[in-house]
Symmetry: C5
Subunit: 349 residues, 5 copies
């Protein structure tokens, strides 16, 4: 569904805007503190109240946001503002960071590069972080959080020692680590494209270059606003984020800048490839045309001479000369050779 | 009429600048509070004073601004500054938000995409919002406010519970929702254009690409200043806007940014289409010229040979050879074949 | 004269830099307050002192700035700083607004579009505004202030009720109204250019497009710094400008932005026209070359066949076949037709 | 010598970086106050102490900075920081303004246009301005300060009445006046280039356009940072610069902006010339190719017909027709004429 | 190894990201104050504690960061934050300056131009500067610090008199001096490229231009963020940096700006070379095609005439004219000459 289905609805009405899905929506949960860590799969709605009042940090992962009612129910349990709910289910929402009373809200795109389809896969992901809980909402099964999960289940990891704000940070960090993976894959493609151009420009497909350009633009559209969002979280004076986590967010900001730098670099390279491709293919074309035209040009005057002595005038003295034919050949060859010499002197061939 | 008709007039003189219209101007009104909602069509000027002093929120919708006297009369009743009146009837006014004593003033463009004429339709719309009233001025019959009207007539909607500032917000939100509709239609056209380019570049019309470019530019010209206007309303310290509505305005600002993002994206894509179109059509042209030139080049030396033996010299020994004619064919074919082989080796064909 | 004539002179030395003129310089004056308005033509220098000490507001209009001594004399009477005098007579001075002790100083360009010569006419105009007087300096006879004069002579106009700051505003407003007139004329030309390109690109003259580009650039160079100048006047804390006039200056600022918007729009369109012109004319050229080359290519192999049977070998069995000639025609036509079919299949024709 | 010779040296080590020179270095001095003005040529180092303690303002002009030891000695006498000395002798230093304890430091480029070599001549110039002295360091004999010198020797000039800060200003003003001279010469060249392009594009040399582009870029590189430097001097709270001189510096800043404006204008024009040159020369080329190809295309089918009736088949009935030859001519001319008509209808010729 | 190997690791986990190396890691140290300077090579880890508590300034140079454990151990001894350690071993980290409790952290790229491979060599370098120590971490043997070392071993150098902050500055200065060397080598290449283009455009290789473009971009990517980093160090209120060193840092900032200026200049020049190369090579191509086409065009009508009189019609009166053959030559030559004259008049040849 597209953004326009929302036209005319009351602002704050949550409407799922994205690919139609029919899978059941699932809620996973992890509750942890320094000492224990419990993990739950497919938690029913009714148990959420209990988990919420639990000691320690709660990380709720909602998989599937097409079930708007469920998202709204979760939102009501944790006191989330309707405008936030609206943004959570609106998959076309651009990345942003916002400060609501009682919680922080962060929208990101989870980017993975699909090796088979050779295209960038973009998944809308929202994170709500309160004092003691973090709720992540993702579109579908499959994410980049496995490393976070395994760190949580290990007793000694720093993550376990710290609060919900560090969990928020860890999730964001995992997503941005995923960006590096995706960008490196795109970068490999672009660089092999570049080599192709300089080696044998025929095999390069303009559609492929155009496709990479669009991917870099799409990537940039996800990362650029994220930069502001992270900077907002780092600099906001919310008590939810502790001083130590702020330092980690600064590091994250740094990574985002690095991603943007890489993207800019690839954009420059793609622009260069396109220009060079055009120059090279026009050069090759010119080269061909030149050679062909020279062949034609050399033979046309010679053919003219042959045409002259093919005329049927009664009085054509040359035809009766003894060495007429030989002389004619000499003349023709002389014309051809002198043209070739002339072209060579002009450095045309 | 054009902007220049105002030359020489006293500043603050309201002059209608736009397409000449002759329809009668109409004023519709809705008066509502939590409990009741009354709707009036074609309210005569004399009744406005009464409606103004009514309890609850008053939304006045003036349809048609070419009757400058009527607009001025309305303005006088509500104490609107002459400069505001001037901007209301000046259809070439760019979007802006301003803070006048006693009311807020906001100029927007209502954008709809006309499917039949395949062009963007732009209507000048001004909103004046006081403490207890909102007045919208539109150019002609037909708007995007039907959803607002139906929400107003339903008792339970949030809109009914809140003040004039929320009504202002609701109207602006309806207009920006309309932007998404318009932009999606333009986007569909652009994307089908893109597919055309890569599939069979002949059928693409440069005039169409140029037309889309102009529409995206026109769209951008409407949305870009609107961004500042909304930001101004959100951040101004006017008592007319309540804290809760401010949060909704922040959301609206977000939508505007999203529209701008989409427009930038389409601009990039259009640029890419244009470049690719040029590259592809020049590639195809080159391909054609190359093949044609090769055919010519192969036959020209062969024709020369034929020309030579068409000469009428008395002494041409080859003509009397037994297999002269056969050898001649062999020579000609050899020349042709070796040229083809040479071209193929050079990877020209 | 050019700017460089000033090289080596004491800074603050007023030097007229512009087209050499010989007309006599004239000073016109209007003195007005709510009740009376007197108008003087060609006021001699000696009377200025008297006018200055007059009650009410004095508007002095100096026509002709090539008489540097006269300008300096006027300046001395009103206590104008030498640097201001220098800027007044320096016609290459860019627009700016400055705050000197006792007066405001504003440089603008008066732009009119000369329909006959089809070029933008730029006149340097400076305004000095004190508490009770406004002095405008223009290069030559003829200006856009007639409407201001007629409003001044009408007793009821707002202008008459207000101080010198409003007179300054009225003059600036008149000039910017003139911008709209000029820009609309340029815009008409550009749009007819655009239509020409898409209809029959032959008749478009690149020099015309280049000329429009230069005019838009020149226009922009006049308006862009003016924007800052007006903003400076609006925001400066000088007591010369009253709060009410500030609101009008904000409106003026708005108009300037609108002019800039229109100019940017025309610049985009001109860029688009240039690109499209190039694309279209290259398309048309390619089309022509293609058709011509195809004709040549079809006939060259046929001519080769004809050449073969024009050879004079003794033994050419085909020549003696009964239907040799007919078969030859069939072969030639077959070659031609099959080439045409092949080209058509490749969608080249 | 190049900047890299400094690699590995202690920071603050003064190293002359520029063209190797062997002329003797000279110090000229002027000491003045309202009443007297003394001028000295080739002042020996030992006398500097005396001049420094003199009443009035001292302007020291050091001609030649390749004698690093001398510059350092001067610096030590006036208490100049080693980093300043380093910048004085580093000819590749970009323009800047800095505030050191006890003096202001300003680096500029003196630009003159060499009419003979037709290139921009750039000379590194540094000015150190203390409370009672100004020291200018220039690379070689010959400068733009003659007007300053003559004003100093005239008793009534404003310069004589004022302090060292005004002398600093006067020197900077003289340099910027020189910019106008240089830029007008470049501008003349560019404009004659522009006329050439539109009149007869053959005579335009791309290398010349490229050369102008480089000069405009080099010019810009000198002026752009100067703008910041002057703004820094104007706004710094140093007691060395008096309020009155600040007003003059504002005027200077204005001139710098004007230079930048002119440069931007020329850059736009050069870009336009390049584009137009390419368009026009491609248009002309296309025009030529079209005419030539049309001639070829018209004759090729005619030649084919002639070729057919040059064949030697025994049975060619047309050869024996009475009016065969005439008919053949008619056919050939008909083919040629109809092709020409067709091309004309298509508006190709 | 690539950045993506870090995916899923705990943030702050140091992972070496760069070319795999196997050399042993070495730590060199210099301890100095005004009076003494001791130099140690290959200091074992255990001795670091002792050196740290030494009087005077300690400069530790760690050569090789692929031994992550060693780097971590050094970090622990000096109390360096895990995030800093992570950045030290992450060779893809972009330049930055950061303020950690107790020390300053600075990442730079050491750039050298490899004359043999003709490419820019980029080495990741991090500096940690505390109150009494400076630790630099470099990737491999070989650096630009030899001049710093020799200055340290000389008793009288300014460096010896000052604290750790000046040592930090000296290292950064050495690196930026290295930039000038590298940039001048690139610049030489670019300028010889430029000369090639204007002299004989054939020998220019687009791949070389592309390669220079990439190097300038890579260079810029290293210097641009460095500018911010130095500005951060200069402006931060850390007590580690003394007022005097701040003045030197300002000078360093200046150098960085100069490097950026040079890079921008080269970028402009490279753009210009590319454009000019394309224009010139297209001009030359056009020139060739024109001459060739003219030759063909002149001979085609002449050949047609010859073809006509090669026809075998029985009745061809011209064939029997006495001077038929001569007249035919005259006609053919007349056609050829008149075409040449026509072309010359049109100024095509």
């Amino acid at each position: 569904m597209r953004r326009s289905v929302k036209t005319g609805m009351e602002p704050g009405t949550p409407v799922y805007v994205g690919i139609q899905r029919h899978e059941a929506v699932r809620i996973d949960a992890m509750v942890y503190d320094c000492e224990t860590c419990e993990s739950y799969v497919d938690v029913p709605l009714e148990r959420l109240e209990g988990l919420k009042s639990h000691e320690g940090v709660l990380w709720l992962n909602v998989i599937g946001i097409h079930d708007v009612d469920l998202v709204r129910s979760v939102g009501e349990i944790f006191g989330i503002h309707p405008l936030t709910i609206e943004d959570i289910v609106n998959t076309s929402q651009r990345p942003k960071g916002e400060d609501y009373p009682g919680y922080l809200f962060c929208v990101m795109n989870m980017l993975t590069y699909d090796d088979v389809a050779r295209e960038l896969d973009l998944e809308h992901l929202s994170i709500v972080a309160g004092r003691t809980y973090v709720i992540s909402f993702q579109e579908k099964e499959g994410d980049v959080f496995d490393a976070v999960r395994s760190r949580l289940s290990q007793g000694k990891s720093r993550l376990r020692q710290m609060g919900a704000d560090h969990c928020l940070y860890a999730l964001m960090d995992a997503i941005i680590d995923g960006y590096f993976l995706a960008i490196e894959k795109i970068g490999d493609g672009i660089e092999s494209c570049e080599d192709d151009v300089f080696e044998h420009s025929d095999s390069v497909d303009l559609a492929v270059i155009h496709q990479y350009k669009r991917e870099v633009i799409a990537f940039r559209k996800s990362v650029w606003p994220l930069r502001e969002a992270i900077s907002f979280l780092e600099k906001s004076d919310t008590p939810i984020i502790s001083g130590d986590t702020r330092m980690y967010l600064r590091d994250l900001y740094d990574h985002t800048i690095q991603v943007i730098d890489m993207l800019e670099g690839y954009r420059d390279i793609l622009g260069g490839i396109h220009d060079t491709y055009l120059s090279l293919s026009s050069n090759r074309m010119n080269e061909i045309m030149k050679v062909l035209t020279i062949i034609a040009t050399v033979f046309i005057p010679m053919t003219f001479v042959a045409g002259v002595y093919g005329m049927n005038f009664e009085e054509m003295p040359e035809l009766h000369w003894r060495y007429g034919y030989g002389i004619c050949w000499v003349v023709m060859i002389a014309i051809g050779v002198s043209l070739v010499v002339y072209f060579r002197r002009k450095r045309w061939i």
